[in-house]
């Protein structure tokens, strides 16, 4: 029993130490966001990587999410004669919850992994040390542009995901469930409030920052060659996904 407790204690202490290191890393990065030099070219390049190149995967996921949501909502609500609420459920679920969460999970898989792999490879091949020897702060050059771009690009992606997700629900509503197109759009517009969209965009900005932070943190601290980079990539995706779901619960409670 004492052995078991000691083991639990060690795991808990290790968890606290890791959380502390991550918090310090985030604070350090944030402090560099406010101090020159700035690298706008790198921010733009990251915006293209994170935002533009993620559009197909995010758009496709959002479309099918809207489709499935409309079908399942209709299945459930038809049992209580409330089929008319399909448009309401689709638009609120997509804008407040599914748009930001599903888009962020897809971006965590695509971009978080790529960031961890790129920075991790730079770490194990001494490229990060080389930056320091060339009078360039690696935090400002590698971490800050990714954090800034992640925080900006994710809300933009979520706006598009929201539109495509609602459109998916509309397609099912009109062509499969025989809703009148005009009344479906009218209901969607009537039920949707600006704070539904804004709360989703706030979540998206937080998730975008988190994905970039996890990718940079695990990449920056990777060790031990190819295996270390692989581990960093896995940790980046897993920890970003868990953090997205945890933060979603917390933010939903606050923005409810």
């Amino acid at each position: 029993m004492p052995d078991f407790l000691a083991r639990v204690g060690r795991v808990f202490l290790a968890f606290l130490a890791a959380a502390g290191r991550l918090a310090l890393f985030a604070l350090h990065a944030l402090s560099h966001c406010l101090r020159p030099p700035f690298y706008p070219r790198l921010v733009v390049r990251q915006l293209i990587d994170i935002g533009y190149y993620s559009l197909p995967v995010v758009g496709l996921t959002a479309l099918f999410t809207g489709v499935v949501l409309a079908l399942q909502t209709h299945t459930g609500f038809s049992r209580i004669n409330a089929e008319g609420a399909v448009a309401l459920v689709v638009v609120l679920s997509v804008t407040r919850e599914l748009g930001p969460v599903i888009a962020s999970l897809m971006v965590a898989g695509r971009i978080g992994a790529a960031m961890a792999a790129e920075i991790g490879t730079m770490r194990v091949t001494d490229q990060i040390d080389a930056l320091s020897t060339l009078s360039t702060n690696p935090f400002k050059y590698l971490v800050v542009p990714r954090l800034v771009a992640g925080t900006i690009a994710m809300p933009a992606l979520v706006v598009i995901a929201d539109i495509i997700g609602v459109f998916g629900g509309f397609l099912v509503g009109v062509y499969k469930l025989d809703f009148n197109p005009g009344s479906y759009i009218g209901q969607t517009a009537d039920y949707l409030h600006s704070d539904d969209v804004v709360s989703g965009l706030i979540k998206a900005a937080v998730f975008g920052f988190t994905i970039a932070l996890m990718g940079c943190y695990h990449g920056y601290h990777s060790r031990g060659g190819a295996e270390g980079v692989g581990t960093a990539t896995t940790y980046s995706v897993v920890s970003a996904s868990i953090m997205i779901l945890l933060l979603d619960s917390a933010l939903t409670s606050v923005l409810f």
Binding site: P37, D129, S132, L134, S135, Y141
Partner: protein, 258 residues
């Protein structure tokens, strides 16, 4: 009174967990001197130069550059000090995402704020100084052979005309002819710039070509230091074993039985 050394290291200690890597290193490097540190793999050579460069924080001791204590400098002062350094990494450490010319010009563009087109001209000139043609500048590092990557890394190290250049195992992984070409280039570049150089290597041909003075590191300490010409008659059994590459001698390789 003796002149102030360019680099003066005193009592430098660095451990990683229970493993003591540097155990009280003392080392002086004079102005415009080429100092080579020799020693087996895992004896702390790379850790020593990374501590001097400020890439690793030593546990204790002193590192003075031009008489100024470098270990406890504020970040901004440290960055200014780093501008005096150039470094050639063991694996070249070129940036994969940038073309060759931008690798060479990186320190000029990012570190010194020089305009890109002017920095490119300097980069092409430096590539020429290491025997590479301008068209190489447009290639990616992954398109180059190991020897060419080392030359590009050398061009990058000298591009900003640093006062101190550090060479971390510059000939590792190269064939003997290419290794000699790199050694020649190192001698030429250091001479042309009038720079102070610290090289770490276990390639004795390289030592004989580029060193003014040699120091040997073993178990985290400098166990011998002297002129290159004195190396063969040092009277130190460790140095003798190392420079002749003998398996028998006081240095025992830690080989675990299968």
């Amino acid at each position: 009174m003796a002149a102030t050394p360019k680099i003066a290291v005193r009592g430098l200690k660095k451990s990683f967990g229970p493993k003591v890597v540097l155990d009280g290193i003392d080392l002086d490097v004079g102005v415009s001197e080429s100092r080579v540190v020799i020693g087996g793999s895992g004896t702390g050579k790379s850790v020593l130069v990374k501590c001097i460069m400020g890439l690793l924080q030593p546990d204790s001791g002193s590192i003075k550059i031009d008489g100024v204590e470098a270990m406890r400098l504020p970040a901004r002062e440290r960055e200014k000090l780093m501008a005096k350094f150039g470094m050639l990494f063991q694996g070249a450490a070129l940036f994969d995402s940038l073309p060759v010319w931008e690798n060479v010009a990186f320190g000029l563009i990012q570190g010194r704020g020089i305009e890109r087109h002017h920095a490119k001209e300097v980069a092409i000139e430096k590539l020429g100084a290491v025997g590479l043609t301008p068209d190489v500048g447009e290639l990616r590092p992954s398109e180059l052979s190991g020897g060419m990557q080392k030359r590009v890394a050398l061009a990058r190290a000298i591009a900003a005309e640093p006062e101190i250049i550090i060479f971390d195992e510059p000939t590792t992984g190269l064939d003997p002819i290419m290794a000699d070409v790199i050694n020649e280039l190192i001698v030429k570049c250091v001479h042309d710039l009038g720079a102070t150089a610290i090289s770490i290597t276990h390639d004795m041909a390289s030592v004989r070509k580029i060193a003014d003075r040699v120091a040997m590191i073993y178990k985290g300490r400098i166990i011998w230091s002297g002129q290159k010409e004195e190396m063969d008659r040092s009277g130190n059994a460790y140095v003798d074993q190392f420079i002749h590459g003998r398996a028998e001698g006081p240095i025992r390789m830690e080989v675990r039985a299968l």
